[in-house]
Symmetry: C2
Subunit: 430 residues, 2 copies
């Protein structure tokens, strides 16, 4: 009989409690699948009295998770504290230094310190596993690193943040404004009290950093992700997107181009008929294009106790069965810094919304600025007249380099008849 | 330096040649990801002279694949011959008997002999890997067996046959008849000269047999799959499905119910808004419902040299890295026969199309038969009058046990005013 795999859990929020519950509920099934038991021997959390919906009388309790990482009777430390530094980082480093495997759901930590942690783990001969860090229960790390291992990946794009997708979906379904829907999402618990990590694209950028390294084999470089959130998306933009045959989604996109790797997060318009347009509410999805496999899509719940626990347990079973891989697909010592593409070289189509005074000559001035920067217009929608004489002027632009559009919009913003900064939304997947 | 992993390939059709090409094209990348090279040392095929688009001068040639399985200088035998018995089976058995790992794309072989082969491989301490056998390049075997390992699966359903999906998609897009579209698919190479394995649901049933065992942990039992193909789907059914808000898809469905496991393949109507309805043409998709992860969906190309080679190479990399699992999720010795549900106990909604003489009293007779079997009608569509006085009468039925509907339709078929056997299409995912 093989010895049980002993785990210690740092952080007993909903995911920590959910993981312990899953291991308890499905103990027999997991034992049959691993050939050994997985038992939780220790936990670390501040509040011992709190009811977490699962019995935790068998475990050794630690107040300090770093002490637990050093001293627990455990083969694996499961880090579910969160945050890109502080206790989470110390727990992982301490666990590795003591020769223990680490399972974490912490995308921020990996995006910022993943190179160093992978190096430490590989030097120590332990596993650093993180399936739960991206797209919740969808086994996208395993799919990229193992399932598609034979492919040169050319691009991946994903709905990586459920909060933003919920807000954008609800805005579309109800016609309401961003701030209104955000407030409701906060009341419902779908958005944090301080929502900026989600709605400004930071969380998606953390996840994209991980996926991009896995796909292309370069060092993780969170600082090189150019990201934009969804605060500026108006009800009008959502409505116009529908009219033009698109849906607005916050996508994380990593792409290999002739100019280098593009690694970006931004809200964009995707064709209604594309699989990713159909992914609504709190669901996540990732589309991957590989040279042999072609396009494949992975969809599921991106967050929550159940899906995240499912991913944590998948990592634990890999460890229990002795299945391991280089952390980010190739050994950390072999990962090189990426050559990133200049964002201005991005080749794409665009949606532009201007707010203009309804005076003769406006359209002539705007189109002249675009022409001068070699940007060609695909369609124009002139909205009905507003009471104050300011009307939206909406254009879609043919595929061109982003730098050209940026220059044209800077000129347009200077026009006396243009009353607000132009709004640009990229069009993807056409 | 770790020694290379040596492989020998039996069967050099498009998939065999594609696999060798992939290993050659991406040798450096694969070596970086495995920490060792994967080299093809031997091949077996009848025709040595044929141009397969890839150089095969380095390999030892065998005319007989079984001899190769016994004698080649190889750690792994890749079986790409196909067929549920004969050479393919002998190759796998011989390889295992000689202590070699086996990678196969052969769903028919596994569906019929998978229990025995898994037992042999596990007794011999070698891997029997088969990612390529189901859904081409989609890593669905890995997702089910590893990614979702912590979940009790309640149901899975999939578009598992690209030929059928291509035919159904084309029928919908063009309004043409089944036989017409099939003939075209044969000309285009999307359907075989003898298409019965695909269009009668046999291929999908093979694949479902494998997925069902992985999901529920029971012995493979191909004979217990109740399957139905797409020959009887008419252009009229496709059109009416659209009118009712559905698309017709051939699905393989495995489900755990209070009466036992349902394991069925049939064409069915799925709501237009469901992810699976959007999967068109030669694409495959599998939806899995687990108790912790919730619903997740996997989509990609289901066949072809590239996607299949991608899956074969994923298995080879697992072997190169020493990653292994029980063949079907739990050890073969622990797999028990499933308790299968009586198909008559299936609880679902239904679409029924009758061809009836346009006489007074028809609807009264039909609805009386349904009432007598406790089947309640959700909607009725009476089509416009036909020249010969025979008109379609279409109904959708509320959720009920299938046996009730079967009995009612048997009575309806006896009616003098009903001119053809009633057509029943199950409605799924409502």
């Amino acid at each position: 009989v093989t010895k049980p795999l002993k785990i210690a859990v740092a952080g007993l929020g909903t995911v920590g409690a959910g993981t312990i519950k899953l291991l308890f509920d499905h103990a027999d099934m997991i034992s049959a699948r691993c050939g050994r038991n997985i038992v939780c021997t220790a936990v670390a959390a501040r509040n011992r009295a709190k009811d977490r919906g699962v019995s935790m009388t068998e475990q050794q309790w630690f107040d300090d998770p770093v002490t637990m990482a050093a001293q627990a009777d455990a083969d694996v430390i499961v880090e579910l504290i969160g945050g890109s530094s502080g206790a989470a980082k110390a727990v992982c480093e301490t666990a590795i230094a003591h020769g223990r495997h680490v399972v974490t759901a912490n995308k921020a930590l990996l995006a910022v310190h993943g190179n160093d942690l992978a190096r430490l783990a590989e030097d120590a001969g332990v596993t650093l596993a993180y399936e739960a860090s991206v797209a919740g229960g969808i086994p996208i790390i395993k799919a990229l690193r193992e399932g598609l291992v034979g492919n040169k990946i050319s691009a991946l794009s994903g709905i990586l943040n459920g909060t933003c997708n919920y807000i954008l979906t609800t805005m579309r379904e109800t016609g309401r404004d961003f701030s209104d829907v955000l407030a409701e999402a906060q009341q419902l618990g779908y958005a944090e009290a301080d929502p900026s990590f989600d709605i400004d694209g930071v969380d998606a950028a953390h996840k994209l950093t991980i996926l991009s390294s896995l796909a292309f084999g370069h060092k993780l470089d969170f600082a090189a992700v150019k990201s934009e959130g969804i605060r500026h998306i108006s009800a009008e933009d959502i409505r116009l997107a529908g009219e033009l045959g698109y849906r607005i989604k916050l996508l994380g996109i990593a792409r290999s181009t002739e100019h280098g790797i593009e690694q970006r997060v931004y809200p964009c318009m995707v064709p209604l008929a594309s699989p990713i347009a159909q992914v609504e509410g709190v669901f996540n999805a990732v589309e991957v294009v590989g040279d042999y496999v072609g396009r494949s899509v992975y969809e599921g719940r991106g967050a929550g106790a159940g899906p995240t626990a499912s991913a944590v347990v998948a990592d634990l079973v890999d460890i229990a069965l002795g299945r391991s891989s280089p952390t980010f697909g190739i050994p950390a010592t072999k990962m090189k810094p990426a050559v990133f593409a200049d964002p201005g070289k991005h080749l794409g189509a665009y949606y532009v919304r201007l707010m203009v005074r309804d005076k003769p000559g406006v359209l002539a001035d705007v189109t002249a600025a675009l022409r001068d920067e070699n940007v060609s217009i695909e369609s124009v929608i002139q909205r009905s007249r507003a009471p104050d004489g300011v009307v939206p002027l909406v254009m879609t632009l043919h595929e061109t380099e982003e730098a050209n559009v940026t220059r044209a919009l800077a000129r347009i913003e200077e026009l006396e008849t243009v009353t607000e900064p132009p709004r640009l939304i990229r069009i993807e997947g056409v």
